[in-house]
Amino acid sequence: MNNFNIYLIGVGGQGIGLLAETILRAIDYAGFPVKSVDTHGLAQRGGTVVSQIRMGENAFSPLIPAFDTDLILSLEIHEAYRALMSISKPGSTLVCYEASWQPLSVRSGKEKRIDKENLLMAAEKMKIKVLMVKDPKLGDSRMQNMVLLKKVAGEHLIPGVNQDHYIQALEDLMKGSALEANKKILLEAAN
């Protein structure tokens, strides 16, 4: 099996860590060798947060080699654009939750805001497939990561990993009403 590399990006506070841990464990439940690393510095204070997951026997470092990401998962649109402009490779897929947490430079009008159109246009030029996700009915923004995961599971974006594996992983990580709420979002994918 070839390696499969997943790059997760968002802003501190969006729940990238939980998303990464769920995917990491799901890949393990699916029976593949896997490793990961959260690579943020001071980022938990509102900066960019990145997690990297590497699947496959020949993945040695937890850090993804240059321009070798197969799947980018982003919880925020400016960060999706950043990933596109820094590490993406042609032929890969980007899934982005359509949330916008403007960086200071955008808020203060010094740089342009990135919207869906900007992202899609740039991605098309780079030959990167984009899937946008959004659930306008979602009450708790901290569950946007599950809406994104639903897309990943539903479209089988990680080879060999299916719904059950993601559910098993979630069951490792939470319990009670939190588990039920998260599972509910994920299971809607089946319909």
Binding site: K35, R45, P62, M85, R107
Partner: protein, 625 residues
């Protein structure tokens, strides 16, 4: 749900996915460690989180956060000379604080054994430098082991602990950021459940433990003898040859760069042998000589400084070994983490025929990084916003380490220099000496106040310096993940005696001490305006609880009600004070220039409300979202 505390105590053979920082805690338990101490600092606070996931009464060893790294080292030392196996952990720059005591350890008979876990930070992911602590280990005659994987963190800690107890010497386990934070499945083993009793075996005759003048020489000799004994000790793997096919070329490396090299090897045009070092000080000379003599060309692939390179060159010279050795080529080789990408380009420079250049397959726009920022509701923001307005433009502002360091960023630009934890009062004293024009104002956090802040403050009283010190009291060690500190009323085991910052300051005889909640921005502003022109040391304790911690606790209790602040579009004149001066991330700008609040971010703290010149910021009563 899998609970970390239960995983750590599972007494059987099993595998689990864990982080490097967690694996080391399991290793402590299996090794029978009895006392652990630390001061928080990235990349190691997750070690403490893992320990604290075990309820206090079930913890197999005693654990404390000490006031700083030096004290933590002394606590672990004291435990070890009582006969108890101990461990201490801290971040890279923590070693500097620990050093005055640490440097003595190799001369002492550490009856119980003691492991020092270093969290170095190549890439300066969360540190003020990239210091390579192998230098300080060598200075301290402190052997260093360097794991590359999570599994190795676990096995090497156990081996280091047993070797340390056997040779009664300190041993360092040097982790780097992405070894600490890497996650993978590790196979764990059952362990002896120890009696909870701590040994009481201290006997001065085990020593001597007093190194003074000529007493130093026999102790130093003993330290050197132990280093020598370690080099010939059979028990622990000091280096390993990794070879796919015989090759005339070889690479010597260690730690995470080894894994980066393995990545690059997958597309290499010819096989290359690797000597992977586990012990980087003292170097495994025999294995290195062997490797050098069996290869025509050897590259030393060494992250940060060239300490291995220099030693190997000296070794090769003294043994008259003919192998061609290459190390660092340029200054850039000293800088940054040796990621797969960086190693690819270093290997390309070394052997271009064998390793391809790193090529970007796409044309890209250059995008500026998203700067970190203070959280919504952060009391530090309110303080910076108010204080900036109070200061004449020529004021010199001195930053210190903590979340409030972020005040140096736009739009506040409060803090113009930064050295190390607690430096601010000393630096401000120097800046104010002989300066009778420009006011000097320094910031310090409450954890830092106790860690290394006190000597500078006492000095300012004693030597009568003229400056304003703002203690940013948020009740916690926020930047590193909300650890307790002496004024917080909590320690690693629960409630603790509280040592209030104000009382400490009063005991120094400081006359001008004022306290204020930072949300009272107008009053804080007036207070600062007055203080900066008064003589002597003036302290303002600018308080507000860390709102990140506060909100987490609130949610944990099931309270999710938030009433977000709204912008009344009729009243808003688009002055942008909220976006550009107060700069809470909640405020967003629409394409037509309107200001709106992002409800996912707003915590309803209302610290922004008084900052709006037209009073357009409001909370819609009775409309919680």
């Amino acid at each position: 749900m899998k609970l970390l505390g239960e995983i750590l105590l599972r007494n059987e053979s099993f595998s689990e996915i864990v982080m490097g920082d967690t694996a080391v805690v399991r290793a402590m338990i299996e090794a029978g460690v009895k006392i652990v101490s630390s001061y928080p600092g990235s990349p190691t606070p997750e070690i403490a989180q893992a320990i604290q996931s075990i309820p206090v009464e079930k913890r197999p060893f005693y654990f404390e956060f000490s006031t700083n790294e030096k004290v933590a080292t002394e606590v672990a030392y004291g435990a070890s000379i009582q006969g108890n196996l101990s461990a201490v952990f801290f971040k890279s720059v923590g070693m500097n604080v620990a050093l005055d005591s640490l440097v003595q350890l190799s001369m002492m008979e550490l009856i119980g054994g003691m492991v020092i876990i270093l969290g170095d930070d190549p890439g300066a992911n969360s540190s003020q430098n990239e210091q390579d602590n192998r230098h300080l280990c060598r200075l301290s005659y402190l052997p260093v082991y360097e794991p590359a994987t999570v599994e190795e963190v676990y096995t090497m800690f156990k081996e280091a602990a047993s070797l340390s107890a056997e040779l009664k010497m300190p041993i360092a386990l040097r982790l780097t950021t992405h070894v600490c934070h890497a996650k993978e499945k590790v196979h764990f083993h059952p362990f002896d459940t120890q009696s909870g009793n701590l040994l009481q075996e201290f006997d001065p005759n085990h020593g001597p433990y007093i190194p003074i003048t000529s007493e130093v020489f026999p102790l130093k000799r003993k330290a050197l003898e132990k280093l020598h004994a370690l080099q010939t000790h059979p028990s622990i793997l000091s280096a390993k040859v990794v070879s796919s096919a015989p090759s005339k070329k070889g690479v010597i490396c260690s730690g995470l760069p080894y894994l980066s090299l393995k990545e690059c090897m997958q597309n290499a045009k010819e096989p290359i042998d690797i000597l992977k070092l586990h012990r980087v000080y003292p170097l495994p000379e025999k294995e290195i000589i062997d490797f050098l003599t069996h290869h025509e060309e050897v590259k030393i692939l060494e992250e940060l400084d060239d300490s291995i390179e220099k030693s190997i060159l000296a070794l090769a010279y003294s043994r008259d070994i003919k192998c061609k050795i290459t190390g660092k080529n340029s200054m850039e080789d000293w800088i940054g983490e040796y990621t797969p990408e960086k190693v690819q380009s270093l290997m390309h420079q070394t052997w271009p025929a064998c390793f391809d250049k790193v090529k970007d397959p796409l044309e890209r726009e250059n995008i500026k990084p998203r700067p970190p920022q203070m959280c919504p509701g952060c009391g530090h923001r309110s303080a910076f916003y108010a204080i900036k307005k109070a200061l004449p433009p020529d004021t010199i502002t001195v930053a210190d380490i903590g979340c409030h360091s972020l005040g140096f960023l736009s739009p506040y630009q409060m803090g113009q220099m930064l050295l190390s934890m607690g430096h601010c009062t000393g630096t401000a004293s120097g800046l104010s000496t002989g300066n009778d024009g420009r006011p000097v104002l320094a910031f310090i956090g409450d954890s830092t106040f106790f860690h290394a802040g006190l000597p500078g403050i006492i000095n300012a009283v004693y030597n009568q310096h003229c400056l304003t010190l703002v203690v940013m009291e948020n009740g916690t060690t926020a930047m590193t993940g909300h650890q307790g500190h002496p004024a917080s009323g909590e320690n690693t085991r629960g409630n603790a005696p509280k040592i209030p910052v104000r009382k400490v300051l009063e005991s120094f005889g400081i006359e001008s001490i004022q306290e204020i909640d930072t949300y009272r921005q107008q009053e804080l502003q007036e207070m600062v305006k007055k203080a900066i022109h008064e003589p002597g040391l003036k302290v303002i304790i600018a308080k507000h609880p860390c709102m990140l911690k506060f909100m987490r606790n609130k949610r944990r209790k099931g309270d999710v009600m938030i009433q977000p602040v709204e912008v009344d579009q009729d009243t808003c004149h688009q002055i942008y004070e909220c976006i550009e001066d107060f700069a809470c991330p909640t405020f967003q700008r629409t394409d037509d220039g309107k200001v709106v609040t992002q409800h996912d971010l707003c915590i309803g703290d209302q610290s922004c409300i008084s900052t709006c010149p037209t009073k357009a910021l409001k909370v819609k009563k009775g409309d919680p979202s």
